[in-house]
Amino acid sequence: MAGLLTVVADGVAYGMLLFLFSIGLSVTLGLMRFINLAHGAFAMCGGYAAVMLMNAAGVPFLLTLPAAFVITGVIGVISEKAVIKHLYRMPELQQVLFSIGMAFAASALAVIIFGPQQQPVLLPDWLTGRVDLLGLEITGYRIFLVVCGLIAAVLLIALFNYTLFGAKVRASVDNRRTSEGMGINVERLFSITFGLGAALAGLGGALAVGFLGLDPTFPFKYLVIVLMVVAIGGPGSIAGSFGAAIFLGVADALFKYLVPEIGSFVIYGLLVLMMIFFPRGFAGRTA
């Protein structure tokens, strides 16, 4: 029984990681309707920023997180201004081809700059130690992930649902012309939102590397699971992504534990069922 609870707790933490990893995409894909398969590339960017600061400059782990957020956000805004803004009105296929091309380019760039090897990511001791929490043995890092995930979820839900900024973003996505007519500077708004999505990807990347490692193939390795979170959660819904990520994390862990022979495939089966019966996901917004 204790074993089962430990596995569930681990699953929740893994789900939080998936959530942090995919909220950036939920913002760009879900709210802005831009199919951003280069999401992983932004996450990788945040990962490298954190690892380089930590290993080369000796910056403490906690400080590398905001740094990764800011650096990736700036790169996101620059790339939005330079190229991505031209793609909003293009058909979906163009967006897919463009953004996957961007991910390949980013991956090749990472090989040139950082080399093809795994980057060493060693977390501070207070994060890797095991903690006894109400009879559950769990590591500090997993608790830390859960806390980060909860904070991010609350802040983002508040931002997009209860602030003027969020209302403007939603309005602009639903009807760009009318929004512009009402005096909303849509171009600037989209730059900021895309930058925010990229920054969140960077933060997710920086948090994930301690768990998943980091090398130049990072943009592709986790693309599927991230897309799954957004698809099951329903594009555009932060709360939906949150629920989907926890659900996937726990389901994955439980099935791997209970029926290891098939456990790894269960979540993909769930995805198929979900797409058949709830094509908009848990909480999909209608257009």
Binding site: V7, D10, Y14, P116, Q118, R130, L212, G213, D215, Y257
Partner: protein, 401 residues
């Protein structure tokens, strides 16, 4: 009027031209007699997800040529490097092999990091009568697919069976196996189980995980609950190995008194910095570790560190690339510069080398490698984590043949 002059001048000019020609030809012939060229076609994954591996072998080849020069007798050894992109591209590896043989006139091939790529090229090598030295691909059966194959790496049965034998001898009564679900993983599981059970051990459970699994916690939790004396694990290395090792530390596997046994490629020396203290007390078996104390290794490390910096740590893959070149050089020495396939293969069969990993031999019957397998333990030395060998099993043959 001008005829006499031109008549007069013609022989002179003709003579000059002829002299030039003769000089050029004889020069060429002299050059030919002094320096002949041997092209070694090198096929490695140099882009994509496995670019890191490919670079290690290439580094090994470079280090060897830096230390030993590029000439054997009067033969200049040149390499032409091609990128086969990884394990999913047997067709590409075959095409590159053909190109290297036909267009670049490669007389020996060195490479193949992955089994499918070596397998796909086998019939071509037989047809073209071109010797090929396998730099890594570790599935046992490959060398039987062409009489021109030889191997300088290892086979998984070699390592897994050594570890199984050791475990059974070392008061490990029960074991739980966790291997990645693909051919090498099944090889590892089969041979560990075979020798472990032959030594009186009992397997209390086994699980096969997806090749790219990153979240190992649930699998480990289940393994721990089975309360085995030891967990045996194999996975494809790289980030998966790092994630696995970190998960074992998180679950406190070695702390709870369970021995953790892995094939040595999982705790590759150059991944140790990324694994940190999670390798503490982890027991592994492999054919090379940086710590080996022998003259050949000292020479190799000196050359390696001159090229890649004083703190660089070579992967066992670098040594495999290095030994691949060493085998080719030795074969050329033995043949006295003859580069035809039969002479080279005759020289390769039974070749003995003083490798950085200790003495190695190419089995004259199977053309596979016979080498020492070291049983190592993860310990901290001078602030760094290393695999320290505490037992050597000498001259291990591939048990699957």
């Amino acid at each position: 009027m001008c005829l006499p002059t031109s008549l007069h001048r013609f022989p002179a000019r003709a003579f000059l031209v002829a002299a030039f020609f003769i000089a050029a030809i004889s020069n060429f012939e002299i050059a030919y007699a002094q320096d002949r060229k041997l092209t070694v076609g090198v096929i490695l994954p140099l882009s994509g997800a496995f670019a890191d591996q490919g670079k290690h072998y290439e580094d090994g080849i470079k280090v060897f040529q830096k230390i030993h020069g590029n000439k054997v007798g009067n033969v200049v050894v040149e390499t032409v490097v091609r990128d086969d992109q990884g394990p999913g591209s047997g067709d590409l590896a075959r095409r590159l092999t053909q190109e290297l043989i036909q267009r670049n006139k490669a007389q020996i091939i060195l490479g193949y990091s992955f089994t499918p790529n070596a397998m796909a090229s086998a019939t071509l090598l037989t047809e073209a009568k071109t010797p090929a030295v396998i730099v890594n691909a570790a599935t046992s059966i490959i060398t039987e697919k062409s009489p021109y194959f030889s191997r300088v790496s290892f086979t998984l049965p070699q390592i897994a069976s050594s570890l199984g034998t050791w475990a059974a001898k070392s008061s490990v009564k029960t074991a739980y196996t966790i291997v990645s679900d693909y051919a090498p993983g099944l090889d590892a599981e089969t041979w560990f189980t075979k020798t472990f059970e032959a030594g009186g051990g009992k397997i209390v459970g086994s699980v096969r995980t997806p090749v790219a699994a990153m979240e190992y916690s649930p699998f480990l939790q289940r393994a721990i609950e089975a309360k085995p004396d030891a967990i045996f694990a194999f996975n494809p290395g790289g980030d998966v190995a790092v994630a696995f090792m970190k998960a074992t530390k998180e679950r406190g596997v070695t702390k709870s008194g369970i021995k953790l046994l892995v094939t040595g490629d999982v705790v590759d020396d150059n991944l140790l910095p990324a694994m940190g203290d999670s390798v503490e007390d982890v027991i592994s078996a492999l054919h090379y570790q940086v710590e080996l104390d022998n003259p050949a290794n000292a020479k190799f490390l000196k050359g390696f560190r001159e090229m890649f910096g004083a703190n660089a740590v070579p992967s066992y893959r670098v040594v495999q690339g290095y030994d691949g070149m060493a085998l080719i050089y030795q074969a050329l020495e033995k043949t006295g510069g003859k580069t035809d396939a039969d002479s080279i293969m005759a020289a390769i069969k039974g070749a003995k080398l003083d490798s950085p990993r200790g003495p190695i031999q190419i089995d004259p019957q199977t053309r596979d490698i016979i080498e020492n397998i070291y049983i190592r333990r993860g310990v901290q030395k001078d602030g760094k984590w290393v695999n320290a060998a505490f037992e050597t099993i000498e001259a291990v043959k591939d048990p699957a043949k």
